[in-house]
Protein backbone atom coordinates (compact mmCIF):
# COMPACT_ATOMS: atom_id res chain seq x y z
CA UNK A 1 0.00 0.00 0.00
CA UNK A 2 1.54 3.27 -1.12
CA UNK A 3 1.22 6.01 1.48
CA UNK A 4 1.16 9.74 0.80
CA UNK A 5 1.67 12.70 3.06
CA UNK A 6 -0.53 15.05 1.01
CA UNK A 7 -2.34 12.69 -1.34
CA UNK A 8 -4.65 15.25 -2.88
CA UNK A 9 -1.82 17.30 -4.28
CA UNK A 10 0.73 14.51 -4.78
CA UNK A 11 -1.69 12.57 -6.96
CA UNK A 12 -3.55 15.50 -8.54
CA UNK A 13 -4.20 15.35 -12.29
CA UNK A 14 -1.68 17.22 -14.42
CA UNK A 15 -4.20 19.94 -15.38
CA UNK A 16 -4.83 20.65 -11.71
CA UNK A 17 -1.09 20.96 -11.01
CA UNK A 18 -0.70 23.38 -13.97
CA UNK A 19 -3.55 25.44 -12.61
CA UNK A 20 -1.99 25.65 -9.15
CA UNK A 21 1.40 26.49 -10.65
CA UNK A 22 -0.02 29.25 -12.86
CA UNK A 23 -1.93 30.82 -10.02
CA UNK A 24 1.07 30.75 -7.67
CA UNK A 25 3.49 31.94 -10.36
CA UNK A 26 1.44 35.06 -11.17
CA UNK A 27 1.35 35.90 -7.46
CA UNK A 28 5.04 35.16 -6.97
CA UNK A 29 6.17 37.35 -9.86
CA UNK A 30 4.12 40.21 -8.42
CA UNK A 31 5.67 39.58 -4.99
CA UNK A 32 9.20 39.63 -6.40
CA UNK A 33 8.53 42.72 -8.54
CA UNK A 34 7.31 44.58 -5.46
CA UNK A 35 9.88 43.33 -2.97
CA UNK A 36 13.11 42.30 -4.69
CA UNK A 37 14.59 45.32 -6.52
CA UNK A 38 17.48 43.18 -7.76
CA UNK A 39 15.16 40.89 -9.71
CA UNK A 40 12.83 43.71 -10.71
CA UNK A 41 15.75 45.38 -12.44
CA UNK A 42 16.48 42.15 -14.30
CA UNK A 43 12.85 42.06 -15.45
CA UNK A 44 12.96 45.70 -16.49
CA UNK A 45 16.17 45.08 -18.44
CA UNK A 46 14.36 42.32 -20.30
CA UNK A 47 11.25 44.44 -20.78
CA UNK A 48 9.00 42.13 -18.77
CA UNK A 49 6.39 43.29 -16.25
CA UNK A 50 4.20 41.20 -13.92
CA UNK A 51 1.28 41.82 -16.32
CA UNK A 52 3.09 39.73 -18.95
CA UNK A 53 2.96 36.66 -16.73
CA UNK A 54 -0.48 35.09 -16.88
CA UNK A 55 0.33 31.39 -16.62
CA UNK A 56 3.15 28.82 -16.59
CA UNK A 57 3.34 29.27 -20.37
CA UNK A 58 4.80 32.75 -19.76
CA UNK A 59 7.57 31.46 -17.49
CA UNK A 60 10.08 31.51 -20.37
CA UNK A 61 9.73 35.31 -20.62
CA UNK A 62 11.33 35.76 -17.21
CA UNK A 63 15.07 36.33 -16.67
CA UNK A 64 17.25 33.66 -15.10
CA UNK A 65 19.01 33.77 -11.76
CA UNK A 66 22.36 32.08 -11.26
CA UNK A 67 24.93 31.53 -8.58
CA UNK A 68 26.66 34.71 -9.81
CA UNK A 69 23.49 36.66 -8.95
CA UNK A 70 23.49 35.17 -5.47
CA UNK A 71 27.05 36.38 -5.08
CA UNK A 72 26.32 39.85 -6.44
CA UNK A 73 23.26 40.27 -4.27
CA UNK A 74 24.85 38.84 -1.11
CA UNK A 75 23.78 39.10 1.67
CA UNK A 76 20.35 40.73 1.43
CA UNK A 77 19.84 41.56 -2.25
CA UNK A 78 17.45 38.71 -3.04
CA UNK A 79 15.51 38.87 0.18
CA UNK A 80 11.78 39.00 -0.48
CA UNK A 81 10.50 39.73 3.03
CA UNK A 82 11.44 42.10 5.83
CA UNK A 83 13.95 40.46 8.16
CA UNK A 84 11.46 40.71 11.01
CA UNK A 85 9.33 38.14 9.17
CA UNK A 86 12.25 35.76 8.61
CA UNK A 87 12.89 33.06 11.17
CA UNK A 88 15.95 31.21 9.93
CA UNK A 89 18.84 31.06 7.50
CA UNK A 90 20.74 28.16 6.01
CA UNK A 91 23.94 28.41 4.09
CA UNK A 92 26.24 26.59 1.76
CA UNK A 93 29.78 27.35 0.71
CA UNK A 94 29.98 29.34 -2.49
CA UNK A 95 32.70 30.28 -4.94
CA UNK A 96 35.71 32.26 -3.74
CA UNK A 97 34.62 31.96 -0.17
CA UNK A 98 31.34 33.83 -0.56
CA UNK A 99 28.57 31.80 0.94
CA UNK A 100 25.03 31.37 -0.27
CA UNK A 101 22.72 32.50 2.49
CA UNK A 102 19.07 31.53 2.09
CA UNK A 103 16.30 33.00 4.25
CA UNK A 104 13.10 31.38 5.46
CA UNK A 105 9.88 32.70 6.90
CA UNK A 106 7.84 30.30 9.05
CA UNK A 107 5.71 29.66 5.95
CA UNK A 108 8.86 28.73 3.98
CA UNK A 109 10.05 26.37 6.70
CA UNK A 110 6.59 24.76 6.72
CA UNK A 111 6.45 24.10 3.02
CA UNK A 112 10.00 22.76 3.06
CA UNK A 113 9.21 20.42 5.91
CA UNK A 114 6.09 19.31 4.03
CA UNK A 115 8.31 18.37 1.10
CA UNK A 116 10.56 16.33 3.39
CA UNK A 117 7.52 14.74 5.01
CA UNK A 118 6.36 13.63 1.55
CA UNK A 119 9.79 12.07 0.94
CA UNK A 120 9.75 10.28 4.30
CA UNK A 121 6.22 9.02 3.77
CA UNK A 122 7.16 7.76 0.30
CA UNK A 123 9.97 5.82 1.98
CA UNK A 124 7.40 4.27 4.29
CA UNK A 125 7.59 6.50 7.38
CA UNK A 126 4.60 6.78 9.71
CA UNK A 127 4.16 8.00 13.28
CA UNK A 128 5.25 4.55 14.43
CA UNK A 129 8.70 4.90 12.93
CA UNK A 130 11.96 5.99 14.50
CA UNK A 131 13.88 8.27 12.15
CA UNK A 132 17.60 8.66 12.70
CA UNK A 133 18.73 11.92 11.11
CA UNK A 134 22.46 11.48 10.52
CA UNK A 135 22.80 14.41 8.15
CA UNK A 136 24.80 17.30 9.55
CA UNK A 137 22.81 19.79 11.62
CA UNK A 138 23.60 23.47 11.50
CA UNK A 139 24.00 25.72 8.49
CA UNK A 140 23.71 22.69 6.18
CA UNK A 141 20.10 22.04 5.17
CA UNK A 142 20.28 18.23 5.38
CA UNK A 143 19.76 17.81 9.12
CA UNK A 144 17.14 20.52 9.58
CA UNK A 145 15.09 19.47 6.55
CA UNK A 146 14.66 15.80 7.34
CA UNK A 147 14.33 16.62 11.04
CA UNK A 148 11.38 18.91 10.31
CA UNK A 149 9.88 16.41 7.88
CA UNK A 150 10.12 13.65 10.43
CA UNK A 151 8.30 15.82 13.00
CA UNK A 152 5.53 16.49 10.49
CA UNK A 153 5.08 12.78 9.87
CA UNK A 154 5.03 12.28 13.63
CA UNK A 155 7.92 9.83 13.70
CA UNK A 156 10.19 9.67 16.72
CA UNK A 157 13.15 11.73 15.58
CA UNK A 158 16.74 11.03 16.64
CA UNK A 159 18.63 14.28 15.90
CA UNK A 160 22.02 12.61 16.06
CA UNK A 161 23.65 14.65 13.26
CA UNK A 162 26.65 13.30 11.35
CA UNK A 163 29.78 11.62 12.68
CA UNK A 164 30.64 9.41 15.66
CA UNK A 165 29.83 6.22 13.79
CA UNK A 166 29.89 3.81 16.71
CA UNK A 167 27.41 5.98 18.60
CA UNK A 168 25.19 6.02 15.50
CA UNK A 169 25.16 2.23 15.46
CA UNK A 170 24.48 2.04 19.20
CA UNK A 171 21.51 4.44 18.93
CA UNK A 172 20.13 2.68 15.86
CA UNK A 173 20.23 -0.65 17.71
CA UNK A 174 19.16 0.48 21.18
CA UNK A 175 16.32 2.74 20.00
CA UNK A 176 15.27 0.52 17.09
CA UNK A 177 15.69 3.10 14.35
CA UNK A 178 13.68 2.14 11.28
CA UNK A 179 14.60 4.92 8.88
CA UNK A 180 18.05 6.39 8.34
CA UNK A 181 18.68 9.79 6.71
CA UNK A 182 22.23 10.71 5.67
CA UNK A 183 24.53 11.00 2.67
CA UNK A 184 24.85 7.76 0.68
CA UNK A 185 28.59 7.59 1.37
CA UNK A 186 27.94 7.80 5.10
CA UNK A 187 25.29 5.08 4.84
CA UNK A 188 27.83 2.87 3.09
CA UNK A 189 30.39 3.67 5.76
CA UNK A 190 27.93 2.84 8.54
CA UNK A 191 27.29 -0.50 6.85
CA UNK A 192 31.04 -1.22 6.65
CA UNK A 193 31.52 -0.32 10.29
CA UNK A 194 28.63 -2.53 11.36
CA UNK A 195 30.21 -5.43 9.52
CA UNK A 196 33.50 -4.77 11.31
CA UNK A 197 31.70 -4.83 14.64
CA UNK A 198 30.16 -8.13 13.68
CA UNK A 199 26.60 -6.96 13.07
CA UNK A 200 24.55 -7.96 10.04
CA UNK A 201 21.42 -6.48 8.45
CA UNK A 202 19.32 -8.63 10.81
CA UNK A 203 20.71 -6.94 13.92
CA UNK A 204 19.05 -3.55 13.36
CA UNK A 205 15.39 -2.93 12.55
CA UNK A 206 16.20 -0.36 9.80
CA UNK A 207 13.85 -0.78 6.84
CA UNK A 208 14.55 2.29 4.70
CA UNK A 209 17.02 5.06 4.14
CA UNK A 210 16.80 8.48 2.51
CA UNK A 211 20.14 9.38 1.03
CA UNK A 212 21.06 12.57 -0.80
CA UNK A 213 23.33 15.61 -1.08
CA UNK A 214 25.75 13.77 -3.34
CA UNK A 215 25.78 11.66 -6.47
CA UNK A 216 25.48 7.91 -6.09
CA UNK A 217 25.08 5.05 -8.50
CA UNK A 218 22.65 2.14 -8.82
CA UNK A 219 25.51 -0.18 -7.79
CA UNK A 220 25.99 1.83 -4.64
CA UNK A 221 22.26 1.62 -3.95
CA UNK A 222 22.39 -2.17 -4.24
CA UNK A 223 25.43 -2.28 -1.95
CA UNK A 224 23.80 -0.17 0.73
CA UNK A 225 20.51 -2.04 0.47
CA UNK A 226 22.35 -5.34 0.93
CA UNK A 227 24.66 -4.36 3.81
CA UNK A 228 21.99 -2.52 5.81
CA UNK A 229 19.07 -4.70 4.76
CA UNK A 230 16.96 -1.71 3.73
CA UNK A 231 15.36 -0.02 0.75
CA UNK A 232 17.43 3.03 -0.21
CA UNK A 233 15.69 6.16 -1.56
CA UNK A 234 17.25 9.13 -3.29
CA UNK A 235 16.36 12.73 -2.43
CA UNK A 236 17.29 15.96 -4.23
CA UNK A 237 17.42 19.57 -3.22
CA UNK A 238 19.53 22.66 -2.91
CA UNK A 239 19.81 25.37 -0.30
CA UNK A 240 18.81 28.06 -2.79
CA UNK A 241 15.39 26.40 -3.11
CA UNK A 242 15.01 25.36 0.58
CA UNK A 243 17.08 22.17 0.94
CA UNK A 244 16.44 18.45 0.52
CA UNK A 245 12.95 17.54 -0.62
CA UNK A 246 12.71 19.53 -3.84
CA UNK A 247 12.37 16.07 -5.37
CA UNK A 248 12.27 12.59 -3.86
CA UNK A 249 12.09 8.98 -4.86
CA UNK A 250 9.01 6.80 -4.44
CA UNK A 251 8.63 3.02 -4.24
CA UNK A 252 9.23 2.78 -8.00
CA UNK A 253 12.84 3.93 -7.42
CA UNK A 254 13.07 5.18 -10.99
CA UNK A 255 13.62 8.92 -10.73
CA UNK A 256 12.54 11.55 -8.22
CA UNK A 257 9.14 13.25 -8.17
CA UNK A 258 9.57 17.02 -8.14
CA UNK A 259 7.21 18.74 -5.70
CA UNK A 260 5.60 20.64 -8.53
CA UNK A 261 3.09 22.56 -6.46
CA UNK A 262 6.10 24.38 -4.98
CA UNK A 263 8.77 24.15 -7.68
CA UNK A 264 8.36 24.46 -11.43
CA UNK A 265 11.11 22.64 -13.29
CA UNK A 266 12.43 23.44 -16.76
CA UNK A 267 15.26 21.95 -18.80
CA UNK A 268 17.30 24.42 -20.80
CA UNK A 269 20.25 24.32 -23.15
CA UNK A 270 23.01 25.68 -20.88
CA UNK A 271 24.62 27.57 -23.76
CA UNK A 272 21.65 29.09 -25.60
CA UNK A 273 19.38 29.21 -22.50
CA UNK A 274 16.59 27.92 -24.73
CA UNK A 275 13.91 25.78 -23.07
CA UNK A 276 14.13 22.18 -24.29
CA UNK A 277 11.22 19.81 -24.81
CA UNK A 278 10.37 17.20 -22.19
CA UNK A 279 12.72 14.25 -22.22
CA UNK A 280 15.73 16.28 -23.40
CA UNK A 281 18.97 16.28 -21.46
CA UNK A 282 19.92 19.78 -20.32
CA UNK A 283 20.38 22.08 -17.35
CA UNK A 284 17.73 21.96 -14.67
CA UNK A 285 16.10 25.30 -13.83
CA UNK A 286 13.73 25.81 -10.92
CA UNK A 287 11.18 28.43 -10.01
CA UNK A 288 10.03 28.42 -6.40
CA UNK A 289 6.44 29.58 -6.72
CA UNK A 290 5.44 30.06 -3.11
CA UNK A 291 8.56 30.70 -1.10
CA UNK A 292 8.39 34.16 0.48
CA UNK A 293 11.77 35.07 1.92
CA UNK A 294 14.05 33.72 -0.81
CA UNK A 295 11.87 33.59 -3.91
CA UNK A 296 14.11 32.10 -6.60
CA UNK A 297 12.76 32.55 -10.10
CA UNK A 298 14.26 30.51 -12.92
CA UNK A 299 17.25 29.56 -10.84
CA UNK A 300 19.89 27.77 -12.88
CA UNK A 301 21.02 24.76 -10.83
CA UNK A 302 23.88 23.84 -13.23
CA UNK A 303 22.80 20.23 -12.74
CA UNK A 304 22.48 18.39 -16.02
CA UNK A 305 19.54 16.03 -16.09
CA UNK A 306 16.34 14.90 -17.75
CA UNK A 307 12.63 15.17 -16.85
CA UNK A 308 9.90 12.66 -17.65
CA UNK A 309 6.19 12.79 -17.02
CA UNK A 310 5.05 9.19 -17.32
CA UNK A 311 2.50 7.43 -15.25
CA UNK A 312 4.24 6.22 -12.10
CA UNK A 313 3.37 2.94 -10.39
CA UNK A 314 3.29 4.76 -7.03
CA UNK A 315 0.27 6.82 -8.07
CA UNK A 316 2.00 10.20 -7.81
CA UNK A 317 1.50 12.47 -10.80
CA UNK A 318 4.33 14.93 -10.28
CA UNK A 319 7.02 15.02 -12.95
CA UNK A 320 10.12 12.91 -12.34
CA UNK A 321 13.74 13.97 -12.67
CA UNK A 322 16.56 11.52 -13.33
CA UNK A 323 19.62 11.56 -11.12
CA UNK A 324 21.73 14.54 -12.24
CA UNK A 325 24.30 13.29 -14.77
CA UNK A 326 26.81 16.05 -14.25
CA UNK A 327 27.31 19.78 -13.92
CA UNK A 328 27.46 22.58 -16.44
CA UNK A 329 29.97 24.43 -14.24
CA UNK A 330 33.10 23.25 -12.44
CA UNK A 331 31.48 22.58 -9.08
CA UNK A 332 32.34 19.25 -7.50
CA UNK A 333 30.29 17.53 -4.86
CA UNK A 334 32.65 15.75 -2.50
CA UNK A 335 31.23 13.88 0.49
CA UNK A 336 28.06 15.91 0.08
CA UNK A 337 29.85 19.25 0.15
CA UNK A 338 29.98 21.70 -2.77
CA UNK A 339 33.55 22.43 -3.76
CA UNK A 340 34.68 24.93 -6.39
CA UNK A 341 38.26 24.77 -7.70
CA UNK A 342 38.42 28.56 -7.26
CA UNK A 343 38.06 28.14 -3.49
CA UNK A 344 41.09 25.89 -3.43
CA UNK A 345 42.97 28.39 -5.55
CA UNK A 346 42.20 31.14 -3.03
CA UNK A 347 43.56 29.08 -0.14
CA UNK A 348 46.72 28.23 -2.07
CA UNK A 349 47.38 31.86 -2.94
CA UNK A 350 46.77 32.92 0.68
CA UNK A 351 49.37 30.37 1.73
CA UNK A 352 51.96 31.62 -0.71
CA UNK A 353 51.74 28.75 -3.17
CA UNK A 354 51.38 29.34 -6.89
CA UNK A 355 47.99 28.40 -8.31
CA UNK A 356 49.52 25.27 -9.73
CA UNK A 357 47.40 22.50 -8.36
CA UNK A 358 45.32 19.51 -9.21
CA UNK A 359 42.29 18.16 -7.42
CA UNK A 360 41.94 14.40 -7.55
CA UNK A 361 38.63 12.94 -6.47
CA UNK A 362 37.99 9.23 -6.32
CA UNK A 363 35.66 6.88 -4.55
CA UNK A 364 37.17 4.12 -2.46
CA UNK A 365 34.86 1.76 -0.55
CA UNK A 366 31.94 4.05 -1.35
CA UNK A 367 33.60 7.06 0.26
CA UNK A 368 34.97 10.01 -1.66
CA UNK A 369 38.68 10.62 -1.44
CA UNK A 370 39.84 14.19 -1.94
CA UNK A 371 43.47 14.93 -2.76
CA UNK A 372 44.87 18.35 -3.46
CA UNK A 373 48.24 18.22 -5.16
CA UNK A 374 50.37 21.32 -5.24
CA UNK A 375 53.60 21.97 -7.06
CA UNK A 376 56.53 22.95 -4.85
CA UNK A 377 57.97 26.41 -5.59
CA UNK A 378 61.42 27.81 -4.83
CA UNK A 379 59.76 30.33 -2.49
CA UNK A 380 58.12 27.59 -0.43
CA UNK A 381 61.07 25.22 -0.36
CA UNK A 382 63.41 24.97 2.59
CA UNK A 383 65.98 22.45 3.71
CA UNK A 384 63.95 21.97 6.89
CA UNK A 385 61.52 19.03 6.63
CA UNK A 386 59.61 20.06 9.76
CA UNK A 387 58.91 23.48 8.30
CA UNK A 388 57.66 22.05 5.01
CA UNK A 389 55.41 19.64 6.88
CA UNK A 390 54.08 22.42 9.10
CA UNK A 391 53.17 24.42 5.97
CA UNK A 392 51.53 21.34 4.50
CA UNK A 393 49.42 20.97 7.66
CA UNK A 394 48.49 24.65 7.65
CA UNK A 395 47.37 24.34 4.03
CA UNK A 396 45.27 21.32 4.93
CA UNK A 397 43.71 23.16 7.91
CA UNK A 398 42.95 26.23 5.79
CA UNK A 399 41.29 24.07 3.14
CA UNK A 400 39.17 22.43 5.83
CA UNK A 401 38.17 25.87 7.14
CA UNK A 402 37.24 27.08 3.65
CA UNK A 403 35.49 23.96 2.37
CA UNK A 404 34.28 22.19 5.47
CA UNK A 405 35.88 18.90 4.44
CA UNK A 406 39.36 17.53 4.87
CA UNK A 407 41.70 17.20 1.92
CA UNK A 408 44.90 15.25 1.68
CA UNK A 409 47.58 17.70 0.58
CA UNK A 410 50.52 16.38 -1.42
CA UNK A 411 53.52 18.33 -2.65
CA UNK A 412 54.70 17.59 -6.16
CA UNK A 413 57.80 18.40 -8.13
CA UNK A 414 57.51 21.53 -10.31
CA UNK A 415 55.79 21.10 -13.68
CA UNK A 416 54.66 17.60 -12.77
CA UNK A 417 50.95 18.41 -13.06
CA UNK A 418 49.71 17.25 -16.43
CA UNK A 419 49.04 20.04 -18.87
CA UNK A 420 47.08 19.67 -22.03
CA UNK A 421 47.67 22.27 -24.71
CA UNK A 422 49.43 24.45 -22.17
CA UNK A 423 46.41 24.46 -19.88
CA UNK A 424 46.71 22.51 -16.67
CA UNK A 425 44.00 20.02 -15.88
CA UNK A 426 42.66 21.22 -12.53
CA UNK A 427 40.20 18.50 -11.70
CA UNK A 428 40.57 14.77 -12.14
CA UNK A 429 37.36 13.07 -11.07
CA UNK A 430 37.91 9.34 -11.14
CA UNK A 431 34.61 8.45 -9.49
CA UNK A 432 32.47 6.10 -11.50
CA UNK A 433 28.93 7.07 -10.62
Amino acid sequence: MERYYQEEIECAPYEKIREIQSEKLVKQVKHVWDNVPYYRKKMEDKGVTPEDIKSVDDLKKLPFLSKADLRDAYPYGLLGMPLKDCVRIHSTSGTTGKRVVAYYTQHDVDLWEDCCARALTAAGATNEDVVQVAYGYGLFTGGAGLHGGSHKVGSLTIPISSGNTDRQIMFAMDLSATILCCTPSYAAYLGERMKELGYGPGDIPLKAGIFGAEAWSEEMRKDIEKTLGIKAFDIYGLTELSGPGVAFECSAQSGMHINEDHFIAEIIDPDTEEVLPEGSVGELVFTAVDKEAFPMIRYRTKDICKLTREKCSCGRTHIKMAKPMGRSDDMLIIRGVNVFPSQIETVLMNNGYAANYQIIVDRVNNTDTFDVQVEMTPEMFTDNIGEIEARQRKLSDDLKAMLGIKAKVSLLAPKSIARSEGKAVRVVDKRKI
Binding site: I385, S410, L411, L412, A413, P414
Partner: protein
Protein backbone atom coordinates in the same frame (compact mmCIF):
# COMPACT_ATOMS: atom_id res chain seq x y z
CA UNK B 1 84.94 28.22 5.93
CA UNK B 2 81.66 26.47 5.48
CA UNK B 3 80.81 24.35 2.47
CA UNK B 4 77.77 24.83 0.18
CA UNK B 5 75.30 22.00 0.24
CA UNK B 6 72.41 21.73 -2.24
CA UNK B 7 69.02 20.55 -0.98
CA UNK B 8 66.74 19.21 -3.69
CA UNK B 9 63.00 18.62 -3.36
CA UNK B 10 62.00 15.18 -4.61
CA UNK B 11 58.63 13.55 -4.86
CA UNK B 12 58.46 10.22 -3.08
CA UNK B 13 57.87 8.12 -6.18
CA UNK B 14 59.82 5.75 -8.39
CA UNK B 15 62.13 7.55 -10.78
CA UNK B 16 62.29 10.87 -8.92
CA UNK B 17 65.84 10.33 -7.68
CA UNK B 18 66.91 8.84 -11.00
CA UNK B 19 65.87 12.02 -12.76
CA UNK B 20 68.12 14.05 -10.47
CA UNK B 21 71.17 11.79 -10.67
CA UNK B 22 70.66 11.59 -14.44
CA UNK B 23 70.77 15.37 -14.84
CA UNK B 24 73.86 15.69 -12.66
CA UNK B 25 75.59 12.85 -14.51
CA UNK B 26 74.81 14.37 -17.89
CA UNK B 27 76.50 17.59 -16.83
CA UNK B 28 79.44 15.80 -15.26
CA UNK B 29 78.79 17.17 -11.82
CA UNK B 30 81.01 15.39 -9.31
CA UNK B 31 79.16 14.47 -6.12
CA UNK B 32 81.24 14.20 -2.96
CA UNK B 33 78.43 13.38 -0.55
CA UNK B 34 74.73 12.62 -0.59
CA UNK B 35 72.10 12.12 2.07
CA UNK B 36 68.40 11.47 1.69
CA UNK B 37 65.57 12.27 4.08
CA UNK B 38 62.02 11.38 3.41
CA UNK B 39 58.50 11.87 4.72
CA UNK B 40 55.52 9.85 3.60
CA UNK B 41 55.10 11.73 0.34
CA UNK B 42 58.19 13.77 -0.38
CA UNK B 43 61.88 13.77 0.26
CA UNK B 44 64.92 16.01 0.23
CA UNK B 45 68.23 15.00 -1.29
CA UNK B 46 71.18 16.82 0.24
CA UNK B 47 74.29 16.82 -1.88
CA UNK B 48 77.78 18.27 -1.78
CA UNK B 49 79.29 18.72 -5.23
CA UNK B 50 82.39 20.12 -6.91
CA UNK B 51 80.62 23.13 -8.44
CA UNK B 52 77.51 24.01 -6.40
CA UNK B 53 76.50 27.14 -8.35
CA UNK B 54 76.50 25.36 -11.71
CA UNK B 55 74.71 22.39 -10.17
CA UNK B 56 71.92 24.59 -8.83
CA UNK B 57 71.45 26.20 -12.24
CA UNK B 58 71.46 22.84 -14.00
CA UNK B 59 68.85 21.52 -11.57
CA UNK B 60 66.70 24.61 -12.05
CA UNK B 61 66.85 24.15 -15.83
CA UNK B 62 65.59 20.62 -15.31
CA UNK B 63 62.60 21.89 -13.25
CA UNK B 64 63.90 20.91 -9.83
CA UNK B 65 63.31 23.07 -6.80
CA UNK B 66 66.49 23.32 -4.79
CA UNK B 67 68.40 25.69 -2.55
CA UNK B 68 71.92 26.29 -1.37
CA UNK B 69 72.80 26.26 2.28
CA UNK B 70 75.91 26.16 4.41
CA UNK B 71 77.17 23.11 6.21
CA UNK B 72 80.25 22.46 8.30
CA UNK B 73 82.51 19.66 7.15
CA UNK B 74 84.99 18.10 9.56
CA UNK B 75 87.52 15.37 8.96
CA UNK B 76 87.79 12.66 11.59
CA UNK B 77 90.09 9.68 11.98
CA UNK B 78 88.38 6.56 10.59
CA UNK B 79 88.72 4.51 13.76
CA UNK B 80 86.63 3.46 16.72
CA UNK B 81 85.75 6.47 18.91
CA UNK B 82 86.49 8.98 16.13
CA UNK B 83 82.99 10.32 15.93
CA UNK B 84 82.59 10.32 19.68
CA UNK B 85 85.57 12.62 20.12
CA UNK B 86 84.20 15.01 17.53
CA UNK B 87 80.72 15.12 18.99
CA UNK B 88 82.27 15.83 22.36
CA UNK B 89 83.73 19.01 20.95
CA UNK B 90 80.29 20.05 19.64
CA UNK B 91 78.83 19.44 23.09
CA UNK B 92 81.59 21.42 24.76
CA UNK B 93 81.11 24.29 22.35
CA UNK B 94 77.31 24.08 22.91
CA UNK B 95 76.56 23.77 19.22
CA UNK B 96 73.23 22.16 18.46
CA UNK B 97 73.22 19.86 15.45
CA UNK B 98 70.16 19.95 13.22
CA UNK B 99 71.31 16.96 11.22
CA UNK B 100 74.47 15.32 10.09
CA UNK B 101 75.71 12.69 7.70
CA UNK B 102 78.92 10.94 6.90
CA UNK B 103 81.24 10.62 3.92
CA UNK B 104 83.59 7.74 4.43
CA UNK B 105 87.06 8.29 3.14
CA UNK B 106 89.48 5.78 1.71
CA UNK B 107 90.70 3.10 4.05
CA UNK B 108 94.21 4.13 3.00
CA UNK B 109 93.89 7.71 4.28
CA UNK B 110 92.37 6.41 7.50
CA UNK B 111 89.97 9.32 7.65
CA UNK B 112 86.30 10.10 7.06
CA UNK B 113 84.24 13.30 6.84
CA UNK B 114 81.22 14.38 8.81
CA UNK B 115 78.83 16.99 7.43
CA UNK B 116 76.90 19.06 9.95
CA UNK B 117 73.93 21.36 9.55
CA UNK B 118 73.58 23.82 12.45
CA UNK B 119 71.30 26.79 13.03
CA UNK B 120 73.95 29.53 12.90
CA UNK B 121 76.84 28.29 10.79
CA UNK B 122 79.17 31.26 11.38
CA UNK B 123 78.79 31.37 15.16
CA UNK B 124 79.11 27.59 15.44
CA UNK B 125 82.22 27.62 13.30
CA UNK B 126 83.86 30.27 15.49
CA UNK B 127 83.09 28.32 18.65
CA UNK B 128 84.33 25.03 17.18
CA UNK B 129 87.52 26.58 15.83
CA UNK B 130 88.13 28.05 19.28
CA UNK B 131 88.00 24.49 20.60
CA UNK B 132 90.75 23.58 18.14
CA UNK B 133 88.65 21.92 15.45
CA UNK B 134 89.59 22.21 11.78
CA UNK B 135 86.65 23.01 9.52
CA UNK B 136 87.17 21.98 5.89
CA UNK B 137 86.76 24.35 2.94
CA UNK B 138 85.17 23.64 -0.42
CA UNK B 139 88.65 22.95 -1.84
CA UNK B 140 89.49 20.56 0.99
CA UNK B 141 86.29 18.65 0.34
CA UNK B 142 87.18 18.15 -3.29
CA UNK B 143 90.41 16.45 -2.22
CA UNK B 144 88.72 13.87 0.00
Amino acid sequence: MSVKQISVFLENKPGALKKMTGVLAAHEIDMRAISMVETRDFGIARIVVDDPISAVNILKEADFVSNLNSVLVVEIPDEPGGLDKLINIFADAEVNIEYMYAVSGHKSTKSACMIFRVADTKAAEARLVAKGLKILTQDDVMKI
